[in-house]
């Protein structure tokens, strides 16, 4: 047992390194042309590694389905998508009853190509489903088991993304919403980025998504989640929950316990086996309401100040909303540009990056990680 754990750890270390760059490529591939939606794509990856589900709340037309579809395509898994309505029949999601078997007296469902076979699922307007649909869905989401009539199937579902325009007020539906551990709130693209939205939207419609990673990489990472050493971070997590409770941001015990799954997944995706304060940021997305998440960012400001992630940069930036969280992404983009100064669009990309650096930091307070890279970019522009 000891040996197999050690060998698994070694395989995980290798797989993490290999998966990291592929997953970053997959996120880039999925979000190219989609403005301000990296956060959503990265949360999907975190959810898939933790095998926890994601609820996306936002007005219609905010590219929710486009991001999920494109991430699924770039990960290459079996994908199922459905827009639920009040009159949606269970068979539209789970498959029709097999009539041949019914004649023989057995109620079995023909699930080929339907939700029970999906590896990644997207359910739009998820709260509009009937009681029959939501009850069956609970089993699929919680236990990853599809049970209907005589059919009992183990579901290969890695992540289900539900989308809605708002959180439900009905108690029964709120309990269903609680099954999505990650909650994210998306807004329409802000005014200054409308030009980018138009240009990006045009490109997205004309460019198919290529598969850049695969679900087996995510599965190896998922197997590493229970092996993460959480001892160091547990005290900080408990303190964070106390601070949230004092600020009247309440979390159910179930969500508190399950938050550890996300923290461990973030640790694994960062290529580490010991969770630290830098990995506490997923806690923000466990808070179910938008107001609660805003409060949590304020209340946990000191604790979240150390949040960093080499892969999931946009989502960390959004979670902590502090300039320091942006440093990793800006530095990585600078490094990537500096390795390719001969490229055609170097000048445009370098100037855009310098613009972003200067918009975030005054020169005198530029962090050391960025100061040197900024100088190198300027030098490269001058010789260009």
């Amino acid at each position: 047992m000891q040996e197999s754990t050690a060998s698994l750890k070694e395989r995980i270390r290798e797989a993490t390194q290999e998966a990291s760059s592929r997953i970053r490529d997959a996120i880039r591939e999925a979000t190219t042309g989609l403005i301000d939606r990296d956060q959503l794509a990265e949360l999907m990856i975190l959810g898939a590694v933790a095998q926890e589900h994601l609820l996306v709340v936002g007005p219609p037309g905010t590219a929710k389905s486009a991001v999920v579809r494109r991430v699924a395509q770039s990960l290459g898994g079996q994908y199922f998508e459905y827009l639920l309505g009040r009159f949606t029949e269970p068979s539209e999601l789970f498959g029709p009853v097999n009539l041949t078997k019914l004649r023989e007296g057995s109620v079995e469902t023909d699930i080929a190509g339907m939700l029970p076979e999906a590896e990644i699922a997207f359910l739009d307007e998820v709260f509009l489903g009937s009681t029959a649909i939501l009850n069956t869905l609970l089993g699929v989401l919680n236990e990853r088991q599809f049970k209907r009539g005589h059919t009992r199937v183990k579901c290969p579902l890695r992540i289900c993304v539900g989308a809605a325009n708002g959180l439900p007020e009905d108690e029964g539906l709120a309990a269903f919403a609680d099954r999505f551990l990650l909650h994210v709130f998306v807004e329409p693209v802000p005014d200054p980025r409308l030009e980018d939205l138009l240009e990006g939207g045009w490109q997205v419609n004309h460019r198919p998504v290529a598969a850049r990673a695969d679900l087996s990489s995510l599965d190896i990472l998922n197997r590493a989640v229970p092996l993460v050493n959480m001892a160091e971070v547990r005290g900080d997590l408990a303190q964070a929950i106390r601070q949230l409770r004092q600020a009247n941001v309440l979390l159910s015990d179930r969500r508190i316990v399950k938050a550890q799954q996300l923290i461990a997944a973030a640790t694994v995706l960062a290529g580490r086996q010991v969770a630290s304060r830098a990995d506490l940021w997923p806690l923000v997305y466990v808070i179910p309401t938008a107001a609660g998440q805003r409060n949590a960012r304020e209340v946990l400001r000191d604790l979240l100040a150390q949040a960093r992630h080499p892969l999931l940069q946009a989502v960390v930036e959004e979670a902590v909303q502090q300039p320091l969280a942006r440093i990793t992404r800006l530095a990585e983009t600078a490094d990537s540009l500096l390795t390719n100064t001969e490229s055609e669009d170097f000048q445009k990309s370098a100037e855009a990056l310098l613009r972003e650096i200067d918009a975030n930091f005054v020169k005198a307070e530029l962090p050391a990680e960025l100061e040197e890279r900024r100088t190198q970019l300027i030098a490269a522009l001058e010789t260009d």
Binding site: P190, P192, P323, E351, A352, R355, D358, N360, F361
Partner: protein, 138 residues
Amino acid sequence: MTVLEWRANEHAPSPAGLIASAGIARQLLHKLQTLAADELSHLSVVASRDLLVLMGPPELLPWLDGVQYCAPHPQARDLWLPTHTGPALSCDLVQAALARRLGTQALLLLNEPEQIIPLADAAYLSADLLLWLLQELE
């Protein structure tokens, strides 16, 4: 004299304008001359005695070492501020106080040195306007 207390922004907005001091205004104008006429028409400019403020979509705002970027505050659209900082006071209160003194109009509030620049009379850029501004800087 500084009247307001200023704090670094936790979340810098995307730039919607830039501020160039007199020292680099000429360099900025020369850079703008490389833009096509239809790109120029998306940009507008306000010039004060020692500053030039250029507004427009972020991708058309040139990068130059030493310029500062600005944007309207999301909750107070008539109040433009440097992207990296803002008043510690609530911005809608600051906007209301400025509107009482100066009327309702777009205003740029700068921190160092603290000053207010009205943006209402911004002129759309053209090749002719660029030439005129360059001559004025002679």
